[in-house]
């Protein structure tokens, strides 16, 4: 029922609940949201606070809210001594590559699955899902062999291929949902006018699922950015090492420098937050347009 229908029926536009009731629900909601934000933010803030403290201060007064002084030494040490800038750069390139390759293939596949009704469609969909189910332990050694024999150990490409394999299935499923929400009439009309299938996809449908593309892209980027297991296995030097490996290497056999660890974490979460702040607003408001229907 649309609001115009409601108008006609009752002659009234607003709900019948008293205004005070709605306001108090609103305030309750605000409080709850505030609490949630505190829970989400507190550990991160605490870690950020830790990154600005002297190491000796952290060890002797771990729970103190009043630091013995602020310092940038942790950031300086992490930035200079561990080659962090290069690691972050590698992570950026790898994640970027992964997003491009994974999203492209996923979009093609999702479009095909959405528009074409053929036998074995269900099997194909479960196959994509099955990929994510295979436990890492089964994958590690064969993947290493494959990459090593292809001669691309310690390259961005190797990691990008690996991450594409994991992220593609989720992206396919989500993108298919977005495509399903858009009726095929528009493309059919375009094709009657002489457009090819791919042309119709690019010109008509893709612009409409842009928010879905953004959402899937963020999903892919985060998974690629945060992986440690395969980064450890497939990289061996600054040539392609990503930042999670750098984080793990900060930890000595007999040393755990909390300050540097915190600084490294802060440095690595910054790009993600920035990317989300830029893309996220568009994404969430746009997700409403696409919707995820069956």
């Amino acid at each position: 029922m649309s609001s115009t229908t409601a108008l006609i029926v009752t002659g009234r536009k607003h709900a019948r609940r008293p205004a005070g009731y709605r306001r108090s629900i609103g305030v309750l909601g605000d409080i709850a949201l505030g609490a949630l934000m505190v829970v989400a933010l507190f550990p991160i803030l605490w870690f950020t606070y830790t990154s600005f403290r002297h190491e000796s201060d952290i060890i002797s007064n771990p729970t103190s809210f009043i630091p013995a002084g602020f310092t940038m030494e942790n950031f300086v040490a992490t930035w200079n001594d561990t080659g962090f800038p290069k690691l972050l750069w590698n992570s950026l390139i790898t994640s970027g590559l992964t997003v491009i390759v994974s999203l492209t293939f996923a979009t093609f596949a999702a479009y095909a699955l959405s528009r074409a009704k053929f036998r074995g469609r269900g099997v194909v969909q479960i196959t994509y899902l099955a990929v994510r189910i295979v436990p890492g332990t089964l994958l590690m050694f064969p993947l290493y062999m494959l990459i090593q024999q292809a001669g691309i150990l310690d390259t961005h490409v190797a990691l990008a291929i690996t991450y594409t394999t994991f992220t593609l299935p989720a992206a396919v499923w989500f993108m298919k949902g977005f495509f399903d929400a858009i009726p095929p009439d528009l493309e059919n009309a375009a094709r009657v006018d002489g457009c090819t299938r791919l042309g119709a996809m690019f010109r008509i449908v893709l612009p409409l699922v842009r928010p879905g593309l953004a959402a899937s892209g963020i999903l892919i980027a985060i998974e690629a950015w945060n992986d440690i297991l395969f980064a450890l296995l497939l990289t061996s030097s600054d040539a392609s090492r990503t930042w999670p490996v750098g984080l793990r290497l900060l930890i000595g056999e007999f040393q755990l420098p909390w300050g540097q660890l915190a600084a490294a974490t802060v440095l690595s979460i910054l790009p993600v937050v920035i990317a989300f702040a830029i893309a996220g607003r568009a994404m969430i408001s746009g997700l409403t347009a696409g919707g995820l229907k069956d």
């Binding site: 000796s56 060890i59 002797s60 771990p62 040490a77 001594d81 036998r119 074995g120 469609r121 269900g122 099997v123 969909q125 479960i126 196959t127 590690m140 050694f141 290493y144 062999m145 090593q148 024999q149 150990l153 298919k176 949902g177 450890l232 296995l233 061996s236 030097s237 793990r248 290497l249 900060l250 930890i251 000595g252 056999e253 007999f254 040393q255 755990l256 420098p257 069956d294």
Partner: protein, 432 residues
């Protein structure tokens, strides 16, 4: 999302899978044994050129600094040889080594911790160095008992470059307050001092029941049992000795209450933090952590070291050498130069200055930097009486998955002494 997996589609998939299974009957061959290198493995000439790939697990600031000093010295001795090193976190080292060994892509040389030799050799991941050792002038500078852990079936698989000497740290000020003039020497004395130190917020000993806590338990077991295997490698672990050891060690937590209540999960960080923050008075570890302790507590005034306590049977203090070996025979002579370089005393003393890691070369141990440092006297004493343990196949797995697990369960009351000891001995015997 409507999905119909119709029967034909499913059968098709299953059929393909089944066929491939039969076709791929091969399970992968075992990693090929590295072919023995030429007659005698000697180091390269001083003006040789080439690259040497090297895997190590030195991470963290101090280790990296020490390692840089060593590599700098090597570059000066062999200006033409370039060392391409890769450092891998210790916890993940064997994962990567295992994978590379299977794929046949091991580096020229690797860092070899004594407790990994068995596993690495089992994977055909190390090359016999005996011929290199025979022709090396520095061979006589290394005590035989430090080489034993690297020997298997008459072959030598690594040359030590440093070692970890067990000792325990104690709060000298607390000991003085209580009126003791000397640190405890036997285990009973140790328990007594720990109990005396426990009062109010203070606990006597930082007990490691969390990650890495299996090794101290094994040291206690061996301390009450004697050698774990005999000269032929046959198991000699006694159930009663195991029970006594478990009993005595867990008594710190269960009976004397001289260990903090969080002991069952306390790992490396927790025990050190508790010691450095004045919650505990004694901490059993080894020379490797000296620097992290003296960075915070004042030597002599607050913290001193002492050799590990002894039992009526044996000492509980181990000497664990760490060395470098050759993993792939292709670049052997260059790799041998590197391995032998670090086996000599000068780079080892440099490493000590940065990290506090004890030299394995005898002349290095006698260098003034170490011999004249009062806090190192405990290490020197321990080196004389310390033992290198009998590393057997499956030891690390036994340590982490059986000994530690049983000890944790014992501490939290989930198992009895008899059950724990029995489980430990049974799992031990499974390896032989």
């Amino acid at each position: 999302m409507a999905m119909s997996i119709d029967r034909r589609g499913f059968l098709g998939l299953a059929g393909i899978a089944g066929a491939s299974l039969f076709l791929a009957g091969c399970v992968g061959q075992a990693a090929p044994a590295p072919s023995a290198p030429g007659a005698s493995l000697g180091p390269a000439a001083a003006d040789a050129t080439g690259n040497i790939s090297y895997w190590n697990h030195f991470t963290g600031e101090d280790e990296r600094r020490g390692f840089e000093a060593v590599t700098k010295g090597f570059a000066e001795a062999y200006p033409g040889l370039k060392l391409k090193e890769e450092s891998i976190p210790n916890a993940d080292f064997m994962t990567k080594f295992t994978t590379a060994a299977q794929a046949g892509s091991l580096p020229d040389s690797v860092m070899v911790h004594a407790n990994r030799v068995q596993d690495m050799v089992g994977m055909n991941g190390l090359v016999d160095l005996s011929s290199a050792m025979d022709s090396w002038s520095g061979a006589s500078d290394i005590e035989e008992k430090l080489l034993t852990p690297f020997r298997r079936d008459g072959a030598l698989y690594a040359i030590p470059c440093t070692m970890f000497v067990d000792w325990f740290y104690y709060r000298a000020d607390w000991l003085e307050e209580l009126g003791y003039s000397e640190p405890p020497k036997t285990w009973q004395e140790f328990r007594e001092v720990a109990k005396a130190m426990t009062s109010g917020d203070r606990y006597g000993v930082a007990l490691r029941g969390g990650a890495g806590g299996g090794e101290p338990v094994i040291k206690m077991i061996r301390g009450y049992n004697g050698p774990l295997t005999d000269a032929d490698g046959a198991p000699t672990l006694d159930l009663e000795a195991t029970k006594t050891a478990l009993d005595e060690y867990s008594a710190l937590y269960l009976v004397d209450k001289s260990a903090p209540p969080s002991a069952p999960a306390d790992g490396y960080n927790q025990i050190f933090q508790s010691f450095l923050n004045g919650q505990t008075g004694m901490l059993m570890h080894h020379t490797g952590s000296l620097k992290s302790v003296t960075d915070v507590l004042k030597t002599g005034e607050q913290v001193l070291t002492a050799p590990m306590p002894t039992t009526p049977v044996d000492t509980t203090g181990w000497l664990q050498p760490m060395g470098n070996g050759i993993a792939s025979p292709d670049n052997a002579s260059s790799a041998v130069s590197w391995v032998e370089y670090w086996g000599s005393s000068d780079p080892q003393v440099e490493l000590f200055s940065a990290t506090g890691y004890f030299p394995s070369a005898t002349s290095g141990q006698q260098s003034p930097t170490i011999a004249e440092d009062p806090i190192m006297s405990a290490a020197n004493e321990q080196v004389k009486v310390g033992v290198t343990p009998e590393y057997f196949n499956g030891m690390t797995a036994w340590q982490d998955n059986s000994v530690l697990v049983q000890f944790q369960s014992l501490l939290v009351g989930e198992t009895t002494l008899d059950q724990a000891a029995q489980a430990i001995v049974d799992d031990f015997n499974k390896n032989f």
